[in-house]
Amino acid sequence: MNKPMLQVNNITKQFPGVKALDRVSIDLYEGEVLCIAGENGAGKSTLIKILSGVFMLDEGEIILNDEKVNIKNPLTAIELGFSVVYQEHRLINNLTVAENIYFGRFPMKRGFVDYRKLNDDAQQILNRLGMNIRASELVSSLGSSQSQMVEIAKALSVGAKIMILDEPSAAITDSELEKLFEIIKDLKSEGQSFIYISHRLKELFEIGDRVAVLKDGKLVGVEKVSDIDTKKIISMMVGRDLGEVYRPKDREIKEEVLRVENLTNDIVHDCSFTVRAGEIVGFSGLVGSGRSELAESVFGYRKRRAGDIFVDGRKVRIRTPKDAIANGMGFITEDRKTTGVILNKSVAVNTTFAILDKLSRAGFVNTREEKVLVDNYIKKLKIKTPSDKQEAQFLSGGNQQKVILAKWLLTESKFLICDEPTKGIDVGTKQEFYNILDDLARQGIAIMLISSELPEIVGLSNRVYVMQEGRIVKELMEDEISEETITTYSMHEME
């Protein structure tokens, strides 16, 4: 590790109203994993997109192997040896998994795409990642975590000199992550370099060599992982100490709010569970275990073939999300882009979108009242945006997620489903959100929490249901909840 292979010198990137990067300089050495940490909107993804040719830099230079390079579009970046997993999902739905993995690099035979080789090669990579899907399947039939894994497979298959992973672990579980880390370690020993971004700080210590911390577009510092601890990183990121992340769970649990009996459809089988007022109930399982599908089915977003839903002891008819909302439910969905935010609408419009009924008089939206509510949440969740009129597509991923949280928190539902609610959110806001959830529970709200981040489930839940292949296989009581028990039941082979 003497000479850096990649040098980023004094890079500045200005967006209208935001300086996303402000004279940032970072080096990357051969065979190292450089982690980047920072709050939402700190500029991490912007840095990556400059390296990958999606954005042009305003000032500064990029030096690769002692040569100044001008990365003017993604093709140049690819040719220079970068491969990227972007934070937003980027797959082509109407092509197969294999075609996506080798997109732009199809194996050819006599002028035609060699599908046999394509599928075989792709299948090998998938198997190596421990993924239980066929390479010839269409991407549109995958769940969101599975497609995230396919993206990782796509980036890995390139064998690029520098691999950039922007929050690859959001919404994938520990077992998949383990496979990913194994592969990274292998490749690293072959001299490949990595830039790795994650809000799960634990991972940085597992895989990283050095950590660079960004704050408000400026580089705060670069440290060797061996020299620091989580606390230090957090104080570099946030500028202060966070203290205890999780509050004690001594909530007062009252009457049952939601009961689901024998819910069944194509993906979920015979699921029964209850959630009570004042209780946070965790749902755990591997990628593809059907947690999101269960939530969607309860909420009327996905068709049910059988099963009954009871709210406050009364059997209710829920066939569309509208019915669910009318019965006091709220649903923080998993997929930001498809069901989360309206990208070309403003922060304000997105935030109040589910409560327009309450917010309008005689059909007219009360914009004054709206602004108060929105500004309040912008402050509370530290949504980084130039104004409440900014379109959601110009926010960083984590800040978009915060808008979704705000939107559903505003509905004041008595039963709130949270599917990967902290996906892509920085540690500071996560803690704030945990406190909000805890407050809600204490006010008597019933909460269903789906998360692939085990500490979150363990730290918040009063009870946990473990799912496997669309079935609830275990209910864990508060004193049984631990990362070990959950993992055991998630992996346990069913006969």
């Binding site: 209208p16 419009v349 104004s387």
Partner: protein, 329 residues
């Protein structure tokens, strides 16, 4: 500053402070710039163009297009399209003629025509929502149906009305100063629709539907109602356009709507509304119809060869769309 603020409000932007918005303002304003450029070009090409009577003319000529394009804008904002409008205008025009011919009074005639035209919109909305199909071919099919209906209503030929009520007789020719009353009514409709789309709950839902239908659905919005509302409004405006088409020619031509042809969508897009949905503003469609009206007027005044007229017209439409769009990346 006050004026600028009001303007920014008008184009739906309440945050004049940031640098970003100046850029945004520029791109939003580009249709206006296009209009001004065309205006200057037109007056330099023909010394008649800037005469009051010619401008009055242009305003009258664009009005029917304006009503149709208003409805189209709403539908396009939802991310759909309504090709049935031109059939619906034909149908409404012949219906006006036949009802008047049969001695109906103006008010009940208007009510029946608007009811009929809105029903076409209702059907569009329901079919598209219920079967979840793309609006293009459905409304295209509905256009053919409407055209058949208008031939049926008219008995296959242009309907002549004998004793016209003075109201209908003068509807198109009345003026307030130099401004045709038709155009003032048009502005009234645009104002109402502007307030409707920007200030009401349903207006928000219409934009949101075009932005992301799934989000609307998950957020508990009845997307069928929203889409159908947009189509009903579009049908309604086709009916209004039909009434004014009649008032222009004072007879019921079963092919009346075909004159609008491709201009309706062109006006909307030139006004900066994106066909992908969720973006744009009804107000700017006025710019779109004016641009189209001025192109046609100027081509007549200058008197190019007829084939050159077509070529120039096509090129200017392409050019206008290019100007009113901005680079995405």
């Amino acid at each position: 500053m006050k004026i600028k603020n009001t303007f920014m409000n008008l184009i739906g932007n309440n945050d004049p402070a940031s640098k970003f918005n100046r850029k945004k303002m520029l791109t939003t304003l580009s249709p206006v710039i296009g209009l001004v450029a065309l205006f200057i070009l037109a007056s330099s090409l023909s010394n008649v163009f800037l005469t009051a009577s010619n401008l009055t003319n242009v305003l009258r000529q664009v009005s029917v297009l304006g009503f149709a394009a208003l409805g189209m804008t709403i539908v396009i904002i939802t991310g759909n399209i309504d090709l049935s409008i031109i059939g619906n205008v034909s149908m409404s025009t012949t219906l006006v003629a036949v009802l008047l011919q049969n001695g109906w009074d103006v008010v009940p005639m208007i009510l029946v025509v608007l009811l009929a035209s809105s029903t076409i919109g209702l059907l569009n909305g329901l079919i598209i929502s219920y079967f979840k199909i793309e609006s293009f071919v459905i409304t295209m099919g509905m256009q053919v149906v409407c055209f058949g209906l208008s031939l049926f209503i008219a008995g296959g030929r242009t309907v002549i009305v004998d004793n016209l009520a003075p109201f209908m007789l003068n509807l198109a020719s009345n003026k307030l100063g130099m401004i045709p009353v038709m155009f003032i009514i048009l502005l009234g409709f645009y104002t109402v629709f502007y307030i409707f789309t920007k200030k009401t709950k349903m207006g928000r839902y219409i934009y949101a539907l075009g932005g992301n239908e799934e989000v609307s659905y998950v957020s508990g919005v009845n997307v069928t109602i929203v889409r159908t509302t947009a189509y009903i409004l579009s049908g309604l405006m086709a009916g209004v356009a039909g009434i004014f088409t009649f008032s222009r020619s004072l007879c019921g031509d079963p092919a009346a709507g075909s004159a609008l042809g491709m201009y309706v969508v062109a006006a909307v897009v030139i006004g900066g509304t994106k066909m992908s949905g969720g973006r744009g503003s009804v107000l700017f469609t006025i710019i779109g119809i004016l641009i189209i009206g001025i192109i046609n007027n100027t081509l007549n005044l200058v008197g190019f060869e007829y084939y050159a007229q077509q070529i120039i017209q096509g090129l200017i439409i392409i050019f206008a769309v290019v100007i009113s769009s901005k680079k995405r990346r």
